[in-house]
Symmetry: C2
Subunit: 668 residues, 2 copies
């Protein structure tokens, strides 16, 4: 392609915007070249649009990155991270120094290869896993509307998302688009970098949709424009802000690697450094003659002014907050603080269980817990991926459905598990909410990478996963989790709870709500279990595992179990005790919390007698606590379709099997 | 709603079709009521359309369920399983007896809650996990077109899919729709059960798209019709068959639970038995007075005739095959037989590696293996989710891109990992193909439930997962797999390979191609490794783990390692040996194969000396082979963004760390 004349033409449209955008391009070229790793093409292609957005539309103040009423800016195509880092540096975010830019992608720098939430201020969410930035932004927009309804006058901001084709090819992209259109999230605006290029070459290799038509089919407002024409971009963003009844897509035709004479418009601009030669040629084409990492003073000053553009509005907002009768309530909400009466409410719910034991499925126990907790904690916002009646996630306090017309505390996510999980991340990231959402445990497979991001970012979200074993019965092996507990326990920084009864279920919820930096996952049963715990004030689940029953003195054998199999272990232990054996039954609702206990505690619980584990799932991972997988009464493979009792019998998860194995191990 | 008059009107349109459809409705009512479990609403709503399809359009012969050129019928909304079982029973599939229908959802019956491939003949794929039936059908349609090009005159059939809203809400649905539209799969036809109902209530709770417009935006041919009007349905299916340049959506307006006077058109018809009373009322409304599970003789006869409708065409096809010079080649292909020279070709590739060792990344080693194997095995069909240059999945033999104009052996799936994996299942299920497809290991999270279905069905597909550890470096924690190996090893019937060098990589591919009933997954490195194996004819990877190096006599310590960490273990072993220790290095490319070996072999490999494991991943699960997770040199949590060498150093996966830990364990 002949880049030069085009560049001249673009530059003439708005020379100031062009010059400011070139700062972003130059930093991207230099940082990626220095790291010898990264993606220069997207930052160079989107620099003009990003400049218009930050110059004229984004509500932000670089000196106050945590201003609750700032617009949220999400770079969904996270590989374009240097665009974001450049923007943060130029507008004056304190921590984003030029040294951080120089150390792009190096150990210890806050300029990770993809934007990582918690590293640099101004990074609103971790992106890189494609499509999730968009879906997370939907959660942010949901949060904004709900919080605005609760705190009128204090909340009124937009969510801006930049993304490329890949976010739209990923299925989660469609889930997000469909949900946002359905709920008419009018303050959600997408800037679509339509550059016709994918890694494997021209987009036409794999993608030939009419993207605007797809958005329109989903109820979106669509604007198309030239992504390098600052005037057109400004008009498009103005129109997007004027449209409040529908989310807006701004489809921007762009050139990837804009300015690089030999690589612009090709896949080669995407994921490799331009190198010294092409980098120099690009700078020449852009009319850029500053030294590497150097920004000419006049441009630096203009960018600093952009960074301070929102200071006045921010201060006015702070004054309004200070004057508001809701100030304390608002600050408590956005800081994630639990209400003052929280502990008392939990104790009350606990006492109720001991006063009137609940022999119910743990999914039902979860609903009972939620009745109290959701009433006690206004930040809780629930939902389900179209399985409300099965997940039992809906209770009185959150009964009001979130609709296009009015926000509510219960979100019908539709059959969109991945989109739901990512939106939950967005609700938590926005601040003000403790989201939870439900589906069947087996179908959280669909949402797995969003759960991973919850854990990586350390967000206080709670996944409610019901139908947690073959105990679901007739729906058969496609619906029966086998490997899921193991596969979730393998994720770092995720508390996987499988409570044994109504008390442990309440305890798990209590822990989840008090864990702002660790996501929680509840594996809950379809089938009933007896309430096993005796009255007492202590949250024993907090230790992850504990001795629930002791039969006889000393120990001949220890039975470790979780969830619905704890009752089975107790039955077996009683029979073994009748035969003269001393048996300890350990309930292990949360491995992660148990492993964090002091070694002496762990040893006292596990004991030195032979151990047997009982869990209606894959034995994989249990060798952390037992000698070999043969010591686990579990599932040898996939399940089958039949009534639950029959399945337990056929797969040998029975008291008889426990007793036989226990005797064999004691005999050694 | 007032069901009666509507039913009368529908019945009048084509009384015969209505009566035949009522057989399906009655069986669904009876089977679900008897099981006291299941989904009557969808079968009752789709019965008219299914009847038209089987009566007039589907190419099949119930007496020859494996006829390779039959149309494929996929029930993507698998909860409607009784519709399929009813069709198979009525049309005379031998194994689908009335006793099987009576035993719907019971232990040992072939009538599982959701259709399970391999249970009943005529079930073309396992469905239930939503959206996947559709995406798998895309793979079947891809297979048909490719095989037709290879065997002109022998292959010409369509793929029909029934689905509901849920398959369209799931993101994977969009991935499938987009890919099918892009590749212009003109023989793919969808029958969309547009009944306005989801589990949580009316569809309007969560779904308000213009579905036909979305399909049109993706290049589909769209027809709308009344889903109970047999004449309109017949016309729509005729039009679908006439359209060969685009896939067709037939959007059928239907009433869920059609005929049930109190539940039709409501969510209550979806997932609960109608019960005796409503069942009886429904039958009365439909004019059905036969006893439960009884089909009036005239209708039974008509259905049997429908089942035999394709016999003549099937016999003509068989005669054509017998007369074709391609008969043997075709039969070998669809039976999955490897070519006669296969073993020799593998040996040749193996000898080449020993003659000229390859110190390359295992992803590159995989490409080297593929160069030989894809040339040797015409059934192999490759692809990537837009990471061809990173996965190195493209080689000369499969270089021809599969396009809308012409099938090829390389499929650009786009950034649609889940859709890719499900399509691979479809390619394998169709017969004639051994599909493989690539992306980054971390992003197979997106495809996880399709991998699970590969394993559950037992399909010979191969997942090529590159960038398998922190060794990928700068892209950072979102791109670095940590828990993935553990989470995949936890899936039953899946061979997870992490080869150490070029020889093991070739061996893994060889095993994968010889495993028609077990999917394989290759975890491959970005970074280079030395070729470690000494020349020899035996595929040692087939045993899953083996002694790769022995230093000194006896054993002071055993080092277990996989993939890129095997070379690290060898370095450490050499240094330990220099210090006088006897060290055994075990390479463990595939745990699943190792665990299937005789106990004596396993003991001889693992030995009784202290064991240390080295794998740049979560230690979760390694206690199968080592005493405790502290004996694993691995990753304690998520990774970070930095060059790979730095990450190995910072996370302590080094020879020094191995040596220190080894000495500590030997010292005990």
């Amino acid at each position: 392609m002949n880049a030069q004349p085009k560049i001249a033409a673009k530059a003439a449209i708005d020379p100031e915007n062009f010059a400011l955008a070139n700062c972003l391009r130059a930093l991207a070229i230099d940082a990626v070249n220095t790291a010898n790793s990264g993606h220069p093409g997207a930052p160079m292609g989107m620099a003009d649009a990003a400049t218009v957005l930050f110059r004229k539309h984004l509500k932000f103040d670089a000196s106050a990155p945590d201003w609750p009423d700032r617009d949220r800016f999400v770079l969904s195509n996270g590989h374009a991270s240097m665009l974001l880092y450049g923007l943060l540096h130029l507008t004056g975010y304190e921590d984003m120094t030029i040294d951080q830019i120089r150390n792009f992608r190096q150990w210890g720098a806050i300029t990770a290869g993809h934007p990582e939430w918690g590293h640099a201020k101004g990074v609103e969410t971790t992106t890189g896993p494609l499509g999730q930035g968009l879906a997370t932004a939907v959660g942010m927009a949901l949060a904004e509307r709900a919080l605005a309804a609760e705190f009128p006058g204090l909340v009124d901001h937009r969510t801006w998302v930049m993304l490329g084709d890949v976010c739209l090819q990923e299925g989660i992209g469609q889930e997000a688009i469909s949900l946002a259109g359905h709920l008419k999230l009018g303050k959600l605006n997408l800037l679509y970098d339509d550059n016709d290029i994918t890694i494997d070459g021209p987009k036409s290799v794999s993608f030939s949709e009419d993207v605007p038509a797809r958005f329109r089919a989903c109820g979106w407002h669509v604007i198309s424009c030239d992504g390098h024409d600052a005037t057109a971009l400004d008009a498009a963003m103005t129109a997007a802000r004027a449209e409040t009844s529908r989310p807006t897509l701004i489809a921007m035709k762009t050139t990837i690697g804009f300015g690089a004479p030999n690589r612009a418009g090709t896949a080669k601009a995407h994921g490799s450094p331009l190198g010294d030669e092409e980098g120099a040629l690009a700078k020449a084409a852009l009319g850029w003659d500053a030294a590497p990492f150097d920004i000419p003073a006049d441009l630096a000053k203009s960018w600093q002014e952009i960074g301070a553009r929102g200071a006045k509005e921010r201060k006015a907002w702070e004054a309004a907050l200070a004057a508001s009768p809701d100030a304390k309530a608002f600050n408590d909400r956005v800081s994630g603080k639990l209400p003052e009466n929280y502990a008392a409410d939990v104790q009350k719910a606990r006492s109720d269980l001991f006063a009137k034991p609940q022999n119910v499925a743990t999914r039902k126990a979860s609903q009972i817990a939620l009745e109290s907790l959701a009433a006690a904690v206004p930040a809780m916002i629930g939902g389900s991926a179209d399985l409300t009646g099965s997940n039992l996630t809906r209770v009185a306090a959150v009964d009001r459905q979130y609709t296009a017309e009015m926000p509510g505390r219960y979100i019908g996510y539709g059959v969109r598990e991945f989109g739901m999980a990512a939106a939950m991340n967005g609700l938590a990231l926005h601040g003000g909410f403790k989201p939870y959402g439900g589906t069947f445990l087996v179908f959280f497979d669909y949402a797995r990478n969003a759960i991973r991001l919850s854990a990586l970012m350390g967000l206080g979200v709670t996944y409610v996963m019901t139908h947690d074993s073959i105990g679901l019965g007739e729906d058969g092996p496609t619906h029966q989790p086998i490997e899921h507990l193991a596969s979730l326990r393998a994720i770092p920084n995720l508390n996987v709870f499988r409570p044994a009864d109504a008390v442990e279920t309440l305890e798990a919820w209590d822990i989840a709500l008090r864990s702002p930096a660790t996501p929680s996952l509840m594996a809950l049963s379809r089938q009933n279990v007896p309430q096993l715990r005796e009255a007492g004030p202590e949250n024993l689940s907090e230790k992850g595992a504990y001795i629930l029953r002791q039969y006889g003195e000393g120990r001949d054998v220890t039975l470790l179990a979780t969830g619905t199999e704890v009752a089975l272990a107790i039955e077996a232990a009683e029979k073994l005790h009748d035969e003269g054996y001393a048996v300890t039954v350990v309930s292990m609702p949360c491995w992660e919390l148990f492993d964090a206990q002091p070694e002496e505690y762990c040893e006292s619980v596990l004991g030195s007698a032979p151990r047997i584990a009982i869990e209606a799932a894959s034995a994989f991972g249990w060798t952390r606590y037992v000698d070999r997988e043969a010591d686990v009464i579990g599932m040898p493979g996939f399940g089958a379709s039949a009534p639950a009792e029959r399945l337990y019998e056929e797969f040998g998860i029975t008291t008889d099997a426990i007793i036989t194995l226990a005797k064999a191990r004691i005999g050694k």
